[in-house]
């Protein structure tokens, strides 16, 4: 006997979620990832949630030739969760041949608030490729001001990218690694300067 749900259920494109605090390098990471995926002919959808009444990153991406779906946090008609859910469902319905959905939430958003919206679209939590981008130039800030966001983000992350390694000392990189290890032992951590290039290890993940 066939399972009708299994027959009708469409294959969903993996979601790559780029999380991290303001200025950590999420947009650059997303752009580099698109470039990487495009070289192998992958078709990607981009969702951006940017704080502020006028977006900068979405304009930048459009000027680079990408179509972007905006989620403006300031839009009072929808909560973030409902809007995100509707946006993902819209993509799944309208674009059957998508290979990936790339989502960059605001650097102030707690990833835990977004996971239910994604799972409501039929995704399992383990299917969400959550990449947390850690800015080691702001270690004290992470420790003292945004510790809750850091811990929540690390707990949900599948991979951590320690960015800006060209701007910090080896000791600071080591401290960043220890913070990640303390928050979630065994998490895959990659060090790189995203502005320059994505590391080989990262490229092999997707």
């Amino acid at each position: 006997m066939c399972n009708e749900n299994a027959i009708t259920e469409k294959k969903k494109p993996p979601i790559i979620l780029f999380t991290g605090f303001l200025g950590s390098g999420k947009t650059t990471m997303l752009l580099k990832t698109i470039e990487m995926l495009a070289t192998t002919g992958k078709k990607c959808a981009i969702i951006i949630n940017e704080i502020g009444e006028v977006g900068i990153d979405n304009r930048q991406m459009r000027m680079l030739g990408y179509d972007v779906l905006d989620l403006f946090g300031g839009c009072v008609c929808c909560t973030m969760k409902v809007t995100l859910e509707a946006t993902i469902n819209h993509l799944l319905e309208e674009y059957e041949d998508l290979d990936y959905v790339l989502f960059e939430p605001s650097g102030m958003a707690n990833p835990s608030s977004m996971i239910p919206a994604i799972t409501n679209c039929g995704y399992q939590e383990e299917e969400i490729q959550n990449v947390f981008i850690f800015d080691p130039t702001r270690i004290a800030f992470y420790q003292n001001r945004i510790n809750q966001l850091f811990n929540d983000s690390i707990n949900l992350a599948k991979y951590v990218v320690i960015n800006k390694i060209d701007q910090v000392s080896a000791t600071e990189i080591e401290t960043a690694q220890k913070m990640v290890e303390l928050a979630k032992p065994g998490l895959i951590t990659l060090e790189m300067n995203i502005n320059k290039e994505l590391s080989q290890e990262f490229q092999q993940l997707f």
Binding site: I56, M108, L149
Partner: protein, 155 residues
């Protein structure tokens, strides 16, 4: 979750000159304005810069993007496009900081613009006086029903 701590403010600035200037010169001048603006923000120890971003739109495809998360010595900029001479550039600044109001931020930016105009008579700067009305739309064309919230925008 830190929306109450970091207030986002947006400014539109038009830079113009009587004769066309190189993109490299515009890049440097816009950097100067941001430098003075950020310096003033950092004068108050209570303030924390979340992220200050700016996009200088040269034409439909070419741009310079600026980004800063700490002090004025750490403003990164990236140019995308072809080198050319232009006589005007529109710049959008998206500034997220703590312990600074929109009016306070605007005042600092106005001062920075005036400082540059004094130092370089070739350049005129116009900071939009009206507050931003925002982009209260999702990703649909005017007249089309919104696929995201089915036209339930509250505006």
């Amino acid at each position: 979750m830190y929306q109450e701590e970091f207030l986002p403010v947006v400014f539109n600035i038009r830079f113009s000159s009587n004769q066309a200037l190189s993109v490299a010169k515009w890049r440097s001048r816009i950097h100067d304005v941001l430098h003075v603006y950020i310096d003033q923000i950092c004068e108050n120890d209570e303030r924390v810069i979340g992220h200050i971003k700016a996009l200088a739109q040269i034409n439909d495809r070419d741009f310079i993007k600026y980004s800063c998360i700490s002090n004025s010595d750490a403003i990164c900029s990236k140019f995308n496009g072809t080198h050319q001479d232009v006589s005007k550039i529109n710049v959008i600044i998206n500034s997220l900081g703590s312990h600074i109001s929109e009016n306070g931020s605007r005042l600092l930016l106005e001062r920075s613009c005036k400082a540059l105009e004094k130092g370089d008579v070739e350049i005129k700067i116009q900071l939009d006086t009206k507050k931003n009305q925002g982009e209260n739309h999702h990703n649909h064309q005017d007249g089309e029903s919104c696929p995201i919230c089915n036209g339930q925008h509250n505006h």
